[in-house]
């Protein structure tokens, strides 16, 4: 990406706004509307939209830079951008030309923030299956959506939705189609309260969506979601989320180090304490490990190889599992390092308490348990143990 677009500056603007409103959005479990407005104004929503459609023309490397930078400020805001970008990338790669021509310029102009509707009651977090079926009276006719989703991050504020549904005429729940719908094409009703432990600003509510969209708003053909998940959703989700979590933990470590080195704190902490030094080292070691794995996985994704290969899928899943565990563990180390006052209280400038709550979600956000089951099956396919 050329310097003309200065994505780092755009990200810094969003991070600054996010940090200004952080205490309130966390306390009130409120969506970060100010940070979203800055994402719209700064052009950051168009980070992965090609320049030909008015976007910033960025790629996976730009996504992880933005994710790390926003994660340092606010995990929720970082995840909101990462998830939006993963949706946008699916439109870029799998959208029909009429859909791309209509939607991508609006994303780039900051008019469309995308939410993902992949959760469904009763399927236990299975991304690749769907219960509710997409309606289609005849091939090429309008597609009808009638769908409940228990968790839609930013659903109340999104301008467009990418929705998974069982394909018309499907004989099994494994045939899943992905459709795009503008907010105006849907009747949306939401209910329920969002009162989570962490990620409180991500405002993820249950939604009921009904409506009808033209056939050209289908992405990747009927049954095409499996490929979209393997080539775009999965890789960009795991890269983007891991970057945000790494940013969160890196921000926490940085604030702890600033505290330890600040003139006011001298004398309050014994920086020759071997226990303190060892805990700082452990936290740093965990972050360097995640960073190395993130860069290595990025290189694999950028090499344009076949991401559906067993070894590639294993690496992508390992990144997510490792980042979710190690970033959380690093913050735990830091809490032990600085103790109750700066490790456990909300008003500490270290914000460790918030980081720990936010990062606790990482293992659950596409459950590590489920990924381990997938990885066990994948491992059985590769008895020679080949590495990506």
């Amino acid at each position: 990406m050329t310097g003309t677009f200065a994505p780092a500056e755009r990200t810094a603007r969003v991070a600054k706004v996010a940090e200004e409103h952080l205490a309130r959005t966390d306390r009130e479990a409120a969506f970060p509307v100010e940070a979203l407005a800055e994402m719209r104004d700064s052009g950051l929503l168009g980070l992965l939209v090609p320049a030909a459609y008015g976007g910033l023309g960025g790629g996976p490397a730009d996504l992880i830079e933005a994710g790390m930078a926003l994660g340092r400020a606010d995990t929720s805001v970082g995840m909101i951008l990462a998830m939006h970008c993963q949706q946008a990338a699916a439109v870029v790669r799998y959208g029909s030309e009429p859909l791309r021509a209509d939607l991508l310029p609006r994303i780039a102009a900051g008019q469309v923030y995308l939410a993902s509707v992949t959760t469904e009651a009763g399927k236990g977090g299975h991304l690749l299956s769907a219960e509710a079926q997409l309606g289609e009276e005849a091939p090429g006719a309008a597609l009808t959506v009638d769908r409940f989703a228990p968790i839609v991050t930013g659903g109340a504020h999104a301008d467009g939705f990418l929705i998974t549904m069982r394909s018309p005429g499907a004989v099994s729940e494994n045939q899943v189609s992905l459709v795009y719908a503008d907010r105006a094409q849907l009747d949306i009703s939401g209910s329920g309260d969002w009162q989570p432990l962490g990620m409180r600003a991500s405002h993820s509510l249950p939604l009921k969506l009904t409506g009808s969209v033209p056939a050209h708003q289908l992405l990747g053909g009927h049954g095409g979601f499996h490929e979209i998940a393997a080539t775009v959703f999965g890789p960009l989700a795991h890269l983007g989320w891991s970057a945000v979590w790494l940013g969160t933990a890196a921000g926490a470590l940085s604030r702890v180090l600033r505290l330890l080195r600040s003139p006011e704190s001298r004398g309050r902490f014994d920086i020759t304490s071997e226990l303190l030094l060892t805990r700082l080292s452990r936290a740093r070691q965990r972050l360097d490990t995640v960073h190395a794995l993130l860069r290595h996985t990025l290189a694999m994704v950028e090499s344009d190889g076949d991401l559906t290969e067993t070894r590639s899928q294993l690496l992508l899943n390992s990144l997510k599992i490792t980042a979710s565990e190690q970033c959380h563990a690093a913050v735990e180390d830091l809490i032990d390092a600085v103790g109750l006052r700066h490790g456990y209280l909300k008003d500490s400038p270290t914000r460790l308490e918030l980081a720990l709550r936010d990062l606790r979600s990482a293992a659950l956000n596409y459950s590590n348990d489920r990924l381990h089951l997938a990885d066990g099956r994948l491992a059985l396919r590769d008895q020679g143990v080949h590495f990506a």
Binding site: A170, V171, S172, N174, Q175, G223, H226, A230, D306, T308, E309, T310, A374, R377, L378, L380, R381, D382, Q383, G384, H386
Partner: protein, 91 residues
């Protein structure tokens, strides 16, 4: 495709329309395995069944989603081992 192969495949295709109770449906090279019920766990069980039945071992590089996409792509991987110069491995 070898008839032994299609018969071995059939019980794994739990979503084959009419396959369970009615007339056996035709399994063609285009039969979409994932759509008809072969998920990642079933793929491993199917792999073991094939390796036992044909006394072969499919190479790691063939064990990807592309191979398990259709009956034809899976049969091609199996057939390649049956005709490999070294022949089938001892059971």
């Amino acid at each position: 495709m070898d008839q032994r192969f299609t018969e071995l495949l059939r019980p794994f295709l739990k979503f084959t329309p009419g396959g369970a109770a009615g007339e056996p449906v035709a399994i063609t090279p285009e039969t979409d395995l994932r759509a008809l019920g072969i998920d990642s766990m079933q793929a491993i069980e199917l792999l073991f069944a094939i390796e036992d039945a044909f006394a072969i071992s499919l190479p790691d590089e063939e064990l990807n989603d592309t191979t398990f996409a259709t009956a034809g792509s899976l049969w091609n991987a199996v057939a390649a081992q049956l005709t490999a110069p070294t022949g089938p491995v001892a059971p």
